[in-house]
Amino acid sequence: MLRYTIQRVIYMILTLIVIATATFFLMKLLPGSPFRNQEKLTPEQIQMLNKTYNLDKPVVEQYFAYMGKVAKGDFGVSFQFKNRSVTKLISTRIGPSAQLGLQAIILGTIIGITLGIAAALRHNSWIDYGATMIAVAGVSIPSFVFAGLLQYFLSVKWQLFPVIATNSENQLTFIGLALPTIALSVFVTSTTARYMRTEMLEVMGSDYIVLAKAKGISYFNIVFKHGIRNALIPVITVIGPMAVNIMTGSLVIERIFGIPGLGDQFVNSIYTNDYPTIMGTTIFYSFLLISIILIVDLLYGVIDPRIRVAGGNK
């Protein structure tokens, strides 16, 4: 288990290096200068800017300087917001995104697991077909389409919810976060429901459930103690894709509902060609997702006794 963990961490670091390197050189390859309105700047100003951003040195040197800083968690200074470090920018923006993401995950998993179990226990009934349809539709409708439609009908047309998630003091409100949370949780609900249904069907059809029945255990205990318990364990693995989706979903949903989160910031930096911020956020996102997937994998090993021991013997 320890060896496996170390191996995984090494791969994770390698992956991050690849991402940082790719990010760096892609940004370098970009045509033109990163500074907007360059025509209006004097040559001295440009030179000064170049010096500030280390752009006067050879690319290789810049690369190693950049990587050295990244390793320390320093992503440089934003082009768009002068005098603000990208790290600072990320840290101030992460809060709203994290809140939105967690809310969506909690809401989505609760509904998804319930739906999945109901569908599996009533296999081939209307509950099953309904849940399956919802699940397929949920992974098919892009979250921003869903968000747009929710916003139009519930906020604009029927005025049940505020259009923007923040109040006049730029604070997130609970009611304001309701629609973005729902929009973001649709994917979570659908994937969890699908996965839970499949796992539950497989578990309920397994030999050990037949044996448990043969023991005379009640249906309730079979479902809860033997069924759901075992079906839930592999469902942990959907947390990985879920995190990815929450992240990409938040990029657009934060924009639609005006949530001052990291996703909104990232899209902004793309619109404004704010390269240090794009690079920094990209690396940060990658770090986050890779860590989540690593933690999920390790956690899975801890929770499932079969893997726990197999790993321990290695």
């Binding site: 059809g205 050990y208 037949v210 023991k215 005379g216 255990i217 006794p305 079969r306």
Partner: protein, 354 residues
């Protein structure tokens, strides 16, 4: 002898894409107290479905008990509610399955899996159930039960797992133990150990056993009586001696002729039964075995044969025992083993049902 279980005219069907598979078509038998009844037959003969129906473990849908009675303890198990059935399963009748590798819950400790039934049926406290589980583990020959109870199934070998499954089955001293090919998935040496253990346990606990197998060698070791199944029906039933030394049904001949034994010398040839079992979506009109039977009579293709009684305990479902049937000699390898059974009637008597 006391009748413990009476199966009457049991029909079980499965709905599939191709049509309704009539897996069990009118099975009758009795199980007496303390005896071991072996049900033999090739795969698809309906033996496993029969016992699953007794346990009411046929997945529904697609499966269904279409007709028949399963009388146990004054109740018809095919009719009682699921809740009542839960109190029969594991307590009065329990079951051992074919594949020990998959029949234990991989995420629950073995101890808990044994204790589960005890707590439910015998209303034992956790502590008492634990004590009983320790006792059961010793009974089925697992060393260091204190340690083993705290382990997960994957930490056990196949043979050890099957011992655990046996321990679970015996936990509540069931009146009937159903063993569905309990040794098929195991190594030969382990098979012998498990069989030995089961025989031992039967003496100790005095339970009746229904033992399902396709291996006649195993039958000779464990059974008191043998039922031979083919095409969803019992075609011959009798004591183990009657089936082995005085078989009457051509299918039983085929089974015996295809089985090697220690006294099989180089001259005797093992004969395979040609062909495949009948399609149970459209079962044949007459005798299901006719198409593969080299001795088949014209009537076998027309009329379903009735049972003929050969002795007090021996029945066979074949037209060959009809007074009008020509005298047909069993194949050499079978004839060699035939002995005269003292209990045989003068002539087989046609009977209705069993």
């Amino acid at each position: 002898m006391d009748k413990l279980l009476e199966v009457k005219d049991l029909h079980v069907s499965f709905k599939t894409y191709g049509g309704e598979v009539k897996a069990v078509r009118g099975v009758n038998f009795n199980l007496y107290k303390g005896e071991t009844l072996a049900i033999v037959g090739e795969s698809g003969s309906g033996k496993s479905v029969t016992v699953k129906a007794i346990m009411r473990l046929i997945p529904n849908p697609p499966g269904k008990i279409v007709n028949g009675e399963i009388l146990f303890d004054g109740k018809d198990l095919s009719k009682i509610s699921e809740l009542e059935m839960q109190h029969v399963r594991g307590k009065d009748i329990s079951m051992i399955f074919q594949d020990p590798m998959t029949s234990l819950n991989p995420t629950i400790k073995v101890g808990k899996q044994i204790m589960e039934g005890l707590i439910k049926h015998q209303k034992l406290s956790k502590k008492d159930a634990y004590e009983r589980a320790l006792e059961l583990m010793r009974l089925v020959g697992i060393a260091q039960p204190e340690v083993r109870l705290q382990q997960y199934p994957h930490q056990f070998s196949g043979g050890m797992r099957q011992r655990v499954v046996v321990a679970i089955a015996l936990a509540c001293n069931p009146k009937i133990l159903i063993a569905d090919e309990p040794t098929t998935a195991l190594d030969v040496t382990i098979q012998a150990q498990i069989l030995e253990m089961m025989k031992d346990l039967q003496d100790k606990i005095d339970t009746s056993i229904i033992f399902i197998t396709h291996d006649l060698g195993v039958v000779a070791n464990v059974a008191d009586r043998v039922a031979v199944m083919y095409g969803g029906q019992i075609v011959e039933i009798g004591t183990v001696d009657e089936i082995f030394y005085d078989p009457r049904h051509p299918y039983t001949w085929g089974l015996l002729a295809s089985m090697p034994s220690l006294d099989t010398d180089e001259q005797t040839e093992l004969i395979a039964i040609p062909g495949t079992p009948p399609d149970l979506i459209h079962p044949p009109k007459g005798c299901p075995f006719a198409a593969r039977n080299q001795f088949a009579l014209a009537i076998d293709y027309e009329e379903e044969p009735p049972f003929f009684q050969i002795s007090e305990t021996h029945f066979a479902k074949t037209w060959m025992l009809h007074p009008d049937a020509p005298k047909i000699e069993a194949p050499e390898s079978v004839k060699a083993r035939v002995r005269v059974m003292p209990g045989n009637f003068e002539k087989p008597i046609q009977v209705e049902g069993l």
